[in-house]
């Protein structure tokens, strides 16, 4: 019983984290049809700026997190404006965007190493303390993470469904030519999407800065996890990504609790490979998976 609760709780926690990391990736794919390989670096930016704001500028933790998010959003927007916008319309757009964002990621990582040095940093928890429920240790910290995730995902959904700009983002990702014919400014829409996507990556990094260490090279793991989640949920589908995040989170938690940690990752990767071979469009993916 205790194990079950542990697995479910852990699953929801992981799921929340994966959701945060993956949602930006899928949003950006949906609108721009590119994979933003700098998402891991943006995650790192969030973590570091949060740490800086808290430790070096003495700001309260919530403000520090906001600053982390803001920093990531700004850098994400810069990448879009300086690099991606210039690539729009090229036939090699996908490849070029991959390489450009990889380059950006390396720059960000190197900058982090230069500014902060290689040693890891740690943030104290946003909310200290823990409780024991059904024999499982629940850190308030983690409850905050779950809460913030759920709130921001709901906020995003409302934005996408109820506001003009949110609907426009969906329109552009579903049928770009028609969107242009409605007068929707596609370049502006891309910039909004890039900013939101980056903000979410930054939020993930900021929130997790107190759970994991903050390290300049820590971006690859979240990026890889985010890629798995988006593929499973279907590239471009918000609903799919959220479902996939929690399903994979719970799957992983169960694997860890019942079979031990070493098992989880390879199983997940194998799972992803199978998914790609059998049903690349994922759970709810926006079609266009061209089969040759």
């Amino acid at each position: 019983m205790e194990k079950l609760f542990q697995a479910v709780y852990g699953g929801i926690l992981y799921g929340s984290i994966y959701g945060l990391m993956a949602i930006g990736l899928t949003l950006i794919w949906g609108s721009l049809r590119m994979l933003n390989m700098a998402m891991g670096a943006l995650y790192v930016v969030g973590g570091f700026l949060t740490w800086t704001a808290y430790k070096q500028w003495d700001l309260p933790p919530l403000v520090a997190i906001a600053i982390g998010v803001l920093a990531a959003a700004v850098i994400g927007l810069l990448i879009q404006v300086l690099l991606i916008n210039r690539l729009l319309g090229r036939s090699s757009f996908f490849n070029a965007a991959m390489i450009a964002t990889v380059g950006a990621a390396i720059m960000i990582e190197s900058a982090a190493l230069l500014i902060y040095g290689p040693r890891v940093k740690q943030m104290p928890p946003i909310v200290a303390g823990q409780s024991k429920i059904i024999g499982v240790v629940i850190q308030y910290q983690n409850l905050v993470i779950i809460a913030v995730t759920v709130i921001s995902l709901i906020a995003l959904s409302i934005f996408l469904k109820k506001t003009r700009y949110g609907l426009a983002i969906q329109a552009v990702s579903q049928q770009m030519d028609a969107a242009r014919l409605m007068g929707i400014p596609t370049v502006m829409t891309f910039m909004i999407v890039a900013t939101i996507g980056a903000a979410f990556a930054g939020l993930a990094g900021s929130l997790l800065s107190s759970v994991f260490y903050v390290s300049p090279t820590a971006g690859y793991a979240p990026l890889t996890k985010a890629l798995i989640v988006t593929i499973f949920g279907g590239l471009g589908s918000i609903k799919g990504t959220i479902w996939a995040a929690y399903i994979i989170g719970i799957l992983e938690a169960f694997l860890i609790v019942y079979f031990g940690a070493g098992f989880a990752l390879p199983v997940l990767f194998l799972f992803m490979i199978l998914m790609l071979v059998i049903r690349p469009s994922g759970l709810f993916g926006l079609g266009e998976v061209q089969r040759l």
């Binding site: 003009r164 609907l167 426009a168 969906q170 329109a171 579903q174 049928q175 030519d177 028609a178 969107a179 242009r180 014919l181 409605m182 007068g183 929707i184 400014p185 596609t186 926006l286």
Partner: protein
Amino acid sequence: MLKVTDLQAGYAGSEVLHSLSLEVRDGESVVVLGPNGHGKTTLLRAISGLIRPTGGRIEFDGQDITHKRASDIVAAGVIHIPQGDLPFPELTVIENLLMGAYRSDAWRQRKYKLEQVFELFPVLKERPNQLARSLSGGERRMLALGRGLMSKAKLLMIDEPSLGLAPFLVENVYETIRSIRNTGLSILLVDENADHIADLADRVYLLEAGSLIKEGGASEMLHDEALLAAYLG
């Protein structure tokens, strides 16, 4: 109000339209007839900004819109209703319509516009929250037209309104376009056959291989059986 002069346009190296000139005057309803593959869709796309013309000039209401962005051309009042409807599949009927009113001036009046469109298309009023991808062919056509009307259109450009529709729906669509025309909106319609446009068109152009080969008043063009037979086979 729309003046196209010596328009040249095409795709990735192959020129489709060659020195094409046409005009749509205020309140007029102009039809361009042409067989498939001769440039009807390219013409509309060049005007609405989806593709960039390689030569020539397009003027609307005195403004040069030849190389403007699609969103600016929409702001000027030129609305292109594309072939195949291109609905937003995962959005509902209402959401699709709302996107038609994206431009800020139209957006402010969206509730009013929505009522207008629902009046014109009761079919849409019946299913406001249905996802666009589950609509029937006729309903999608209505949606595409309605979406175009949500904006502050001055010129409505319609691409083959009867394409893919069952015969009994086709007359319905043209009837609707006629009522739109009767509200005073200027219309540029491109089509493949001349069956239903008699009561709709003021003037007709014939398009062949990217050039306009003949122009005339609707009555004279459409009653010239020999011409039509030879041209449209």
